[in-house]
Symmetry: C2
Amino acid sequence: MIGRPGYPAEPWCLRETSLDLDGLAHSESLFALSNGHIGWRGNLDEGEPHGLPGTYLNGFFEERPLPYAEVAFGYPEAGQTVINVTNGKLIRLLVNDEPFDIRYGRLLEHERVLDFRTGLLHREASWVSPSGQGVRVRSTRLVSLVQRSVAAICYEVEALDTAARVVLQSELVANEPLPPGGGRDPREAAALQTTLHSEQHRSEAGSASLVHRTSVSNLQLGAAMDHQIEGPPSVQISSESAEDLARVTVTAKLEPAQRLRLIKFVTYGWSAIRSQSAIADQIAAALTAAVQTGWDGLVAEHRAYLDDFWGGADVEVEGDLRVQQAVRFGLFHVMQAGARAQGRAIAAKGLTGPGYDGHAFWDTETFVLPVLTYTAPRAAADALRWRHSILPQAQIRAKQLGLAGAVFPWRTIDGRECSGYWPAGTAAFHVAADIADAVVRYVHITGDEDFERDVGMEILVQTARLWASLGHFDARGGFRIDGVTGPDEYSAIADNNIYTNLMAQHNLVSAAKAVQRNPDCAQELNVTALEVNAWHKAAKAMILPYDHELEVHSQSEGFTRHEVWDFDSTSSDQYPLLLHFHYFDLYRKQVVKQADLVLAMHLRGESFSSAEKARNFAYYEALTVRDSSLSVCAQAVLAAETGHLDLAYDYLTEAAMMDLGDLARNTRNGLHLASLAGVWTALVPGFAGMRDHGGTVAFTPRLPTGITRLTAKVCIRGSRLKVEIAPTATTYRVLEGQPLELLHYGQPMTVAIDSPIFLPNHERPAGPAPTQPKSRAPMPHP
Amino acid sequence: MIGRPGYPAEPWCLRETSLDLDGLAHSESLFALSNGHIGWRGNLDEGEPHGLPGTYLNGFFEERPLPYAEVAFGYPEAGQTVINVTNGKLIRLLVNDEPFDIRYGRLLEHERVLDFRTGLLHREASWVSPSGQGVRVRSTRLVSLVQRSVAAICYEVEALDTAARVVLQSELVANEPLPPGGGRDPREAAALQTTLHSEQHRSEAGSASLVHRTSVSNLQLGAAMDHQIEGPPSVQISSESAEDLARVTVTAKLEPAQRLRLIKFVTYGWSAIRSQSAIADQIAAALTAAVQTGWDGLVAEHRAYLDDFWGGADVEVEGDLRVQQAVRFGLFHVMQAGARAQGRAIAAKGLTGPGYDGHAFWDTETFVLPVLTYTAPRAAADALRWRHSILPQAQIRAKQLGLAGAVFPWRTIDGRECSGYWPAGTAAFHVAADIADAVVRYVHITGDEDFERDVGMEILVQTARLWASLGHFDARGGFRIDGVTGPDEYSAIADNNIYTNLMAQHNLVSAAKAVQRNPDCAQELNVTALEVNAWHKAAKAMILPYDHELEVHSQSEGFTRHEVWDFDSTSSDQYPLLLHFHYFDLYRKQVVKQADLVLAMHLRGESFSSAEKARNFAYYEALTVRDSSLSVCAQAVLAAETGHLDLAYDYLTEAAMMDLGDLARNTRNGLHLASLAGVWTALVPGFAGMRDHGGTVAFTPRLPTGITRLTAKVCIRGSRLKVEIAPTATTYRVLEGQPLELLHYGQPMTVAIDSPIFLPNHERPAGPAPTQPKSRAPMPHP
């Protein structure tokens, strides 16, 4: 899979030099642009051919009834699905009355480049029409990181060899027909044939707008466009609009080598509560600002935003250009997903596709936010503010379930539970502790005390209350959390899942500490000393199942006594197992979909001895099939920690190729954001050994053979730290800000600006290499 | 609830003397007639008012898609629902141009009597029409136990006081509109708006027929009627038919005290494979036979069938007329449900209503077949032959689930799994062992060796194979069955459910013994010595969870360490809990919907010491809420066995009133057959202490205060045994057949015809009375 011909390994961009029609949907996901508010899939400007047309607005969804063969109390009745909104990307081209469609005529040249430094998507194509007219098309696209409602395209067409009459139709299209959905794969989006109802349409002098409303969720959406045109004097412009279509048409006669240039400014807005005219005004205002900024202005401010981002977030990898490219590709998309989400969720696919119905899961807090906390902390804070904003829904849900505090939804867009299969949804209570963990990490790493008081406290207190009510003390005084589902979705409804219990323990203790730091906030939340005492007691008595015969922790009670899955009889085409075996069979056997205990050993590493980690990792490695893209980075981190550097490198390689190589064969539905974040995780918590369990950020750097240098920039308490790891030694530099207290292999040090510290790396002795189930070893690194 | 005014306690009938319009659907279930092939709810002859019109043919269903919010591998895609077929009960009456409808005019008298000895449903009504014309209507209805396709009605109308012109319309009506379904209660039928497609209709000279076909399941159904009429010379007859209606109209002028008598013969037939004309011929032939037999002939042969049944099945209860009535009511309906099912299932509601979609569950084998085995063994054999006939589907399902042998469906009509919620369906593998147990009991009690070879062997072998593949040996050599659901549906997907494991153990050992008895059959089934050895090994090593601290068995591993349900905070209107609490909460706590371990102590009583039974019963009694009507009889049996005779009597009373008193408030959807069987169970295995664990049928009789004599007739190996229990002694008599070896309090004896044995009862010392959860104590006996 490595080296898929279309995408050569390059340090700062993703380049496509040929067009694979069967792989279009895949490339549309990779080339998606987003700012966390607007998402534009990398569809071709002319709209067709397409894999999956996609324009998304964060938080904008349609509702659908959730059906059940057998109803029961507390099942969510309505699902939410992200929908394809008004397409503002469309620029159709007619060359002498023949539409520019690369399926006809001859495509002489094709290139698309996503530039991680500029944030621009470039395209260049040379095409000869069926009747022999040559044209060159160049387009550049951005979704502005600075002006949140704005996207723009610079589109240029040039006549080759002979003169040509060209017509450009720049459009806004609502209710685009979508290709039929797949059906049997639960990871795809619900096949929702949405209809947006037209509320208003308008066009005049090169600009136009459409306002629509959804049928059931009753959300309003506006899209507007305006244009700047440069071309020969023959250029003519007309505008028109109808319910689902606004069109600005530009015609010109181009002499050979003459160009027609169209700059298209597009703005979006939506609201559940504002009036139609307020939305129309909002998109008009944003449009005016964009036009006044101009194309060059938009490009320049976009670049400045990204320069700042990379200045605090870049990771350099020497010795493996593919990994170098992948970590920047991943950081770029993770940044895009969160940059301007501002009070909305970061979905599992960001805004790159409709997979998982556009829902946000625990993935965000556990896999994406640690990266953003260190590289774009404001985006991390925004994502957690969204969780804070849905606390009312989470408290209602808790009440419905007979629990105290807050029960955050397993999957949602607007905060209400949308999971239609509770053993792998509602029962996965760990999401509460994952959110709390992200809050604690954010506050710890940024020192943002206002955030802790405004946002963090309430989340920590309500989640701690959940755990206190969900668990109970057994006759021997142990605190048990029974009947829950951990991260591993090939087990469910188990007692004392160790990941859940460890994360809940952390949640309880962290809430108690936050209460101590913020007594006034705590009082507002009616926290009593008795309550805090109960949290401490529960945390202290938390049961952590251990198998004394095997000398390993048990993922949950009884797990290690289950039958081991018959891996030898399972063929490689029977993965992912969930598409080939019944849940009942997966649940009752020792087979792990994704890191569970292993993830706990990363996030709660201080709770295990090194020897325990080594034994546990070896045991669970032999059971883990990685049917979830969430697994690989945790396995990489623990492989690195237990000294299996080659294996860690393999996992890093797999994380790097997850979307670029389409390893899960579903990147067409959107990128795996958590897995993209995982490339960073495999490098920074992995090879740099960065941990933040205690009061101090700690490093235990160690490179695998093949990676000759690894440099990572991270933001800690407002300072920018650069860690540069060579095979035998590591250099710590503060680039900006106050001095930082850090640990290098457990030894404390203070790093100040202009005073780099250079320290030798330690050896990391490892036992025999762990083995994976048959055919489930990771892809080998180069 | 006892003594619901409409149903006075009478020994041999159920009598209604007033008409409660709100309770119509309830009474229609109680007064339903069936022979196991045809089911007629007790709708009024004139069709309206009705609670729920219902005519059912065993095995005749429509398919519907089963929807899921999230799909997964191996979920059944199609559900099956019993449907209301052509109504042949309808006889409308017009009195001087006013329809006889008891909602209008004045109903002077009303009585309905279901006679358990004759099997006839009588009705008598005196009515004055709105314009003042008095009539008396008498009808008698039967669904023939002798002629399987035949039902008949004798309908008589008499003019009172003044002469009247009457019109009778005797009809066959297809696609009757049904009242809208309830919706949120999973125990109700799917709201299926079925359409039967007309294939053929015909009428001539007082007879008519309709043939229809279902849309999706593609089953064909025929109904025909013919009439005999006695009345004044003025009688005129006409016939007509259309797609969904066939009508024979009889008009007459009646002088005061003059009567018009209509005898209506109705026949039904259906098939998945036979042609339309074959079905039309079949119902015509059955009709000819019925007409030739005549009304009196049908009544006489019906009575003879019932005389024979009661001669071997009657239970007499002295001292409690209500229980006396209930046990005969229950036996009558259980007999009706199975009498002529012949290769079709006995559904949970028999053919008395659409509840549970007309599906058959494990209820049949575990609760109904033990009664039929002792009272109508041929019906028990027929029901097991149905299980045998669906082995192919069960083997396909096993293969799909990656298992060996046969996986019988949790709920079905035609043999395919219809359960849309697998944690309480597919995971409830115990159904396999329940079927095997019914096979073993039937063969043991009847000595029917041909049945064992033709039917039993294959069921035993295929179910034993299932257990061998479902379980596994753990490191310590124990045989575990992980991730299954036992009878208690308030726990699910648990390890080593003790009921399941004990029943599986019995299944494995019984299959091994049957193989030894039938080596040739075993060879045909490719059973090897190695395989049988593995069964023995698994049975011997079967894990039975025990809590050494509490000194009780654990319903499943870990169960006794779960939090105890907060019964004190649960109000009586929050039962059944499943309608008020989420499954996740029920599953993770100690709360028992229905006897699980307690049922195991009945069916596998030889596996527990008396002391264990007493401790276990007390412990689980405090956790059992009886939200299932299946629970009460097992609790009655164990209460009796552990010496809590008063409590056992309370449970007996509750079982007796389940449908008569509508305790579960859903009898309107059909009778609870298992609970009706449970009245017998509470009396015979309960107070008579009848057990069949070992080689010999054993009794430990003991009456509670208030029941002064209990007599039960049972069939054992072709002999008819009568056991008569007085407070201090018991008399055993063989009424017919060979001498029987029996045990009385563990002492062997041989009872031969004409040599009754009279033996004293023993005392049964009991510990302190067990307690039930708040508000869940059984209804007290009188």
